[in-house]
Structure formats: C-alpha cells, structure tokens
Symmetry: C2
Amino acid sequence: MYLARIHVRFKPGVLDPQGAAILGALNHLGFEGVKSARTGKMIEITLEAEDRSAAGRTVREMCEKLLANPVIEDFTFEIAEENL
Amino acid sequence: MYLARIHVRFKPGVLDPQGAAILGALNHLGFEGVKSARTGKMIEITLEAEDRSAAGRTVREMCEKLLANPVIEDFTFEIAEENL
C-alpha cells in the first residue's frame, strides 16, 4: 500500500484571493513580519500498486486527469510506502 | 526571511466530503487501486523573524488564531530559511 501526498498550487502569476485574504487577516491581527501568503490544496491518497514507480505513474495520471487544472495549477507529489 | 509551509487537515473522524467526492471520481475514472482520499489545505507564508525558532513560534500562533479551526482541524508546519 502506498500513501501519496499531492500538493496542488496555483501557477505563478495566477491570482490567489484566499491567500490575499489570509495575508490581510494576519496583518490585521498584528503579525507584521508576514510578507506573502499563498494557498494550495493537499490531497492524501492511499492506493495499491505493484511498486513505487507504478504508484507514481498512477498518481501523475490522477493529477493530470482530475486533481489539478493544468491551465492554472501545478502539482507535485511524494509517495511513501505504508505497512498496514 | 523564512518560508513556512503549513498543512491543515481534518481531525480523524471528521467527515471530509471533498475527499469522498475525489475517491468516488477516481474510482469512476477507473483508478481501482485507490483506497482512500483525504483533503487538506496547504498555506505557504513568507515571514521575517529573528531566527528559526521565533519564526516557528509565530507560525504556531497564526495557526491557532486564524489558519486552523481547533475543533475539527489539526495543523503541522515546517520552516525553511530563504535567501532572497
């Protein structure tokens, strides 16, 4: 069993209103050293696969087909083996 | 300058409808080895601080005050030094 942790972020240059709201709220709360805030999604998937490399191929395909919007988002992922 | 990467997840046992929708969609698309999908938020913040330990204290306070809902969410974060 493999655990894939996927991060989906907006591409550089794409507006991130949620990040802007967080930055504004942090400044408003008195956190003055904060320079930027960007948000993204994290998706953790457990899957069965023959080996780590097959798991990686599957997860890449999931990201391309469903989890990320390639027009505005980039994705990265890491895969760990899980003993259940 | 420090870069904090914060992960906010639902606590175990809290329903995650978005994760359930992703699991359903992946199965529907033919990804049959997928056993579970959980979603979370990722927030990346750049901040100025005296040292890494001060940055960590600040980020923990941000999470407790604004970024995570302690009733239903847990948070973790890691901090890296950035040369700008």
